[in-house]
Symmetry: C2
DNA sequence: GTCTATATCGGGATAGAC
DNA sequence: GTCTATCCCGATATAGAC
């Protein structure tokens, strides 16, 4: 629904859809690969969705694998850009951490397909394709996060004996798991945040900062 | 390495490997499906690993999909059994929660293939195969966990305003994420728990109970 | 129950016209 | 750059002997 929806005849020179063929192919491939995974998507399906012939796909990309890599690279680039915004924030207390968590989660949800693609590559332990690419994005985010936490710690905002790397993993995991399981959680009883990421973030930060034990 | 390793000629009647053909096929299918996913595994590969012919596989199971479902059912059954042990525990304080978390994580790691198979089915949002099966296992675990947390709360061990369902999600997510990402984390700097789940559990429970903020 | 063919279909990829 | 037609191969599944 997203990409192909905004066709809107632009009185462009050689007409048809938005962008040239290659762009449309990349967009179609992103959607399909992200949702169904590499080997459940046929080049035929991509060509159909992009509105071109199968042979044309092979004209732009020398193989299906090549197309996949291009798609992944693009997804990584966009994901990285959404990262830059976060490192610039500056505020008091764990408020900075709170904002980081909320924005990270919202960014994942906003770029759903890209996130799905990258996560698939990172978490499926297949040695294949280009884990290295996706892993870099993951690592980048992790290291930024560790930096933020370290800074909070150096300001004396964190309890002694807290391991910044562990907290970073915990935060990343909380958001990744929300992203992966929000659909299932909608079927579960007593959950009021499956469709409201901000509420999830809020509850998480409360527990993270204060713990669940009695004071 | 696990299943087929313990061959050990048992002087059985019609010789060959352990169990009848069907059991061997199921075991082989579990390993392959869990590691590579449904559509990257050919029936040929399963037959080879099980030491039977391809046609024989189709004799026992009417289709590849049927075999997959049988494999999944088996994995769900075993996973559920490892659950029973946990609901019986009884101790003071959040110690029960601590034990639950540690045992749950260790159980996942012990039954790696089964866990991988079930998780794949639950978290890949594909409508396909038999999500319902795997989702049930997930839901069971979730509800037991909520029960444990509620009990802790009723004993006054939890701070007011804590949402048990949220905490249950948080705990589940922490263990699932560890399971998924422990391999990647080994490549990351400053992480000392990637190969030591108990340490992970320990750190997690510390943060969960006490928070990271200064007292 | 187990095997050796074999049928059939869909996938990726190429050739060559326009 | 884009198409139609085709090649080739591996995958699921079946037939029928033992």
């Amino acid at each position: 629904m997203p990409h192909t929806a905004t066709v809107t005849a632009l009185s462009d020179h050689h007409a048809r859809n938005e962008g040239d063929g290659m762009q449309r192919i990349l967009a179609a491939a992103l959607d399909l690969f992200a949702i169904h995974g590499f080997d459940q998507v046929s080049v035929n399906a991509i060509a159909d969705k992009a509105g071109v012939s199968k042979a044309n796909v092979f004209h732009h990309f020398k193989s299906k694998n090549d197309l996949y890599l291009a798609t992944l690279r693009e997804a990584c680039r966009e994901t990285r850009e959404s990262l830059d915004v976060l490192s610039g924030t500056d505020g008091d207390i764990g408020e900075r951490l709170t904002r980081y968590m909320r924005e990270h989660l919202l960014a994942m949800l906003r770029n759903e397909q890209e996130t799905r693609l990258v996560l698939r590559e990172v978490l499926d332990n297949s040695p294949g394709k280009a884990r290295a690419l996706a892993e870099d994005v993951f690592k980048d985010r992790f290291e930024i996060l560790v930096g933020v936490i370290r800074e909070c710690q150096s300001k004396g905002l964190l309890r002694d004996g807290i391991d910044p790397a562990f907290v970073a993993v915990m935060l990343t995991g909380a958001n990744v798991f929300y992203f992966q399981s929000r659909e299932i959680m909608r079927h579960f009883p007593g959950i009021d945040f499956a469709t409201e990421p901000e509420r999830y973030s809020e509850k998480f930060m409360d527990v993270l900062l204060n713990g669940i034990g009695v004071k």
